[in-house]
Symmetry: C2
Subunit: 431 residues, 2 copies
């Protein structure tokens, strides 16, 4: 029976759980693979202590410098769970260029260095697996890349960030945003500095990976129009639920309109969206993730599960280790990398929600509606609740479908009006 | 660029859609695979007419006898969409023994001939793909076999039959069972003879495939304890929703209890179950399918989508064609077949729902409750609505958790009581 020898870099929560499972599930993994999986080395700044804590036998080498891992003899594949960007990037590039297989969960690195990693793999013949990088334990990447490979993916709508979904779920129950964030931090669901999550940037990285996988061409994270949840207040949640029958969710969206032989197009954005209450994405609560895939033949598919945590991430990492192991055992050359033509960015029409703060003066409402009318934007609903502080009266309106560009121009005009506050909330309405 | 040559056997709705998509998506499939996919032959009782209808070029061979397909020169892989058992079995066995790749959607054949097909593949080196056999366009088999290969699957709960889920959805809205079935037949969602669907047998075939895939050992369909929806009445739906806060769903369940080194165990059953309204499976309506996978590390995952129809089935078949194509191009020998030890069948405790019809005579209720008490079964709720026909008064009760065997013995005792009708409804309560 053959042996695949692994090195695990990074013994944080996911790395430690991966190592623990590699040992406790040794027999069933061996049956699954038809070969032995041997932990040959671990690498961590505190490798000796971590190895002791994990009860690793003396035969497992302990390294503290990841730079040494790519060339370490007697290793077939490296599992990169270091976190950060610099050291993982150097390690993965070095492995791929040497033809060594890599499994990683590093979404930020993948999103920001997609092309560089692909090129290194093509050059050196290394194989790269990264199921854990998007939606944790939900096997969405293999579904898009393998199971649905023969279908035409029309769109992907995801709740891809557990932290913000937890916060929005608590806010829908009436908790103030700051208190909801504190609760998430207490439960270990949000980091001390939650900016990457709240700003939507983490979701944009995942949209970048999903879209790049679907089209075969890198969609950079900075090409994903990104808005966070920082401007969402309790009044938005209440109005959404009571007046519109909708829930606020932070969605990452990539749409791939049919292109009839012309150049392919992609629309990608991240932002708070108003989802109809009966929509399956509205039912995704707490720190759960979900991805709705719209495929031309399969129709709407939804994948739901835990998007984070040591268990789900380690489950995805182990699945990747077995996939990589099978490829190595087969002895086959890596499949040619699919490279589609780079799609052109596009927009599609959409209905918008806008909450403004205005001084209670005559003519404000008329000026706001005139700014929209001038650009041909039709108002679907408008509300100005009474009995408020006259220094900041909320105006809440929704539009009929219009292009995001036109809506953006109207919004700039509105925010430049006298008696209208700069602070505002914008959301898309999911059809 | 290399070419994979395909033969499609069976040009019914799924076969025709597969052929249509192979041609209309030719370019994108070629980009995905890094090789050309060529339709070399079709086979159908009315192949010439079907080929004309599909506008196939003269270069595509038309056969009417599937027996000739396995040895037809110039074919790399056969797509079996004939339907039925005899001819597909002979064709697939012949292909696999000759080392030819096969894609099939034939759930009934897979469930009933699992071991024979596996042996033929091992003998001859043929590869067999069958994603479309369970839950149509939902990529659940590759998820279990590849993505979750490193996890420990604890249980699979599925709504795997669109026909019965459509009927139960209409019944929950108040439609009588017979009318709900007629509606399904009018919409093409139920066959003229709906026995395989209504009896739960179709679901049992799918549970057989899911369990065999998870354990690596064949679980025969006749080992799946199977009950259909024929005994479910509107009164059950109403009582479930109003008194118990639950919905009736036909579930296929396979559980794999942890076995700590002793022989593996499997519990498999199909039957109408009472699902709490807030449970994600309760939200699966109409002809949709869903599979909830409970994995030790990933936690609960749910996969949701269309379980039937030409588009979803063809999507899964195309995904399998590409997977098979990649394997053929890689030139690698087929992976060793995983064969786990045959698990022992087991049961687990469960709460039950029972609706009886009784004559309105003194002592009936006392005799029923005594029969349960004698076997140590504790009653959770009991209802006897008033104002009914005194010749058949319904008694509706739910029990606390008990073993299915003990409950079955008590039920036999109850049905043997004087003044109790033989007709009854039993359901499990999903925790």
């Amino acid at each position: 029976m053959r042996t695949i020898r692994l090195a695990v870099a990074g013994l944080g929560v996911v790395g430690s759980e991966t190592v623990r499972l590699l040992r406790s599930r040794r027999e069933s993994l061996c049956r699954r693979l038809g070969a032995r999986l041997e932990l040959a080395a671990v690498c961590d700044r505190r490798a000796p202590a971590a190895a002791r804590r994990l009860g690793l036998p003396a035969s497992v080498r302990r390294l503290t410098d990841p730079a040494r891992l790519a060339a370490l003899p007697g290793v077939d594949a490296v599992v990169e769970l270091l976190g950060g960007l610099g050291a993982p990037r150097r390690l993965i590039l070095d492995c791929l260029r040497r033809g060594r297989g890599v499994v990683t969960a590093n979404k930020r690195l993948l999103a920001h260095s997609w092309d560089e990693l692909r090129r290194a793999a093509a050059q050196g013949g290394g194989r790269l697996h990264f199921e854990a990088s998007v939606a944790g334990g939900i096997p969405i990447l293999k579904a898009l890349d393998l199971s649905l490979a023969g279908d035409r993916i029309e769109a992907v709508y995801g709740i891809l960030n557990g932290t913000t979904n937890f916060i929005l779920t608590r806010m829908a129950e009436g908790l103030e945003p700051a208190a909801a964030l504190r609760r998430a931090q207490e439960l270990g669901l949000a980091e001390k500095n939650p900016t990457l999550d709240l700003s939507g940037q983490d979701t944009a990285d995942k949209v970048s990976i999903l879209a790049s996988l679907v089209t075969g061409a890198w969609l950079r994270p900075d090409q994903v129009r990104t808005q966070g949840i920082q401007e969402i207040g309790l009044e938005d949640m209440v109005f959404a639920e009571t007046a519109l029958g909708r829930r606020v969710k932070l969605l990452g969206v990539a749409r791939f309109p049919a292109h009839d032989g012309r150049e392919p197009r992609v629309e990608a954005f991240v932002g708070p969206a108003l989802v109809p209450i009966e929509h399956p994405l509205a039912a995704v609560q707490d720190e759960f993730n979900a991805v709705l895939v719209r495929a031309a033949s399969a129709g709407d598919l939804m994948f739901y599960g835990r998007g984070a945590g040591a268990g789900p991430a380690a489950s995805a990492v182990l699945g990747d280790i077995l996939a990589l192991g099978r490829e190595l055992l087969s002895g086959a050359a890596p499949a040619a990398q699919r490279s589609g033509p780079a799609p052109r960015l596009c927009d599609s029409d959409c209905a918008f929600y806008l909450r403004l703060g205005a001084l209670d003066r005559p003519g404000v409402l008329s000026a706001v509606t005139a700014a929209l009318g001038r650009l041909g934007i039709s108002i679907a609903t408008i509300n100005q609740p009474g009995g408020c502080d006259p220094k900041s009266v909320p105006i809440i309106l929704t539009t009929h479908r219009t292009s995001p560009g036109t809506f953006g121009r109207a919004l700039r005009d509105i925010l430049a009006l006298p008696n209208v506050s700069r602070r505002h909330t914008v959301m898309r309405l999911l059809p």
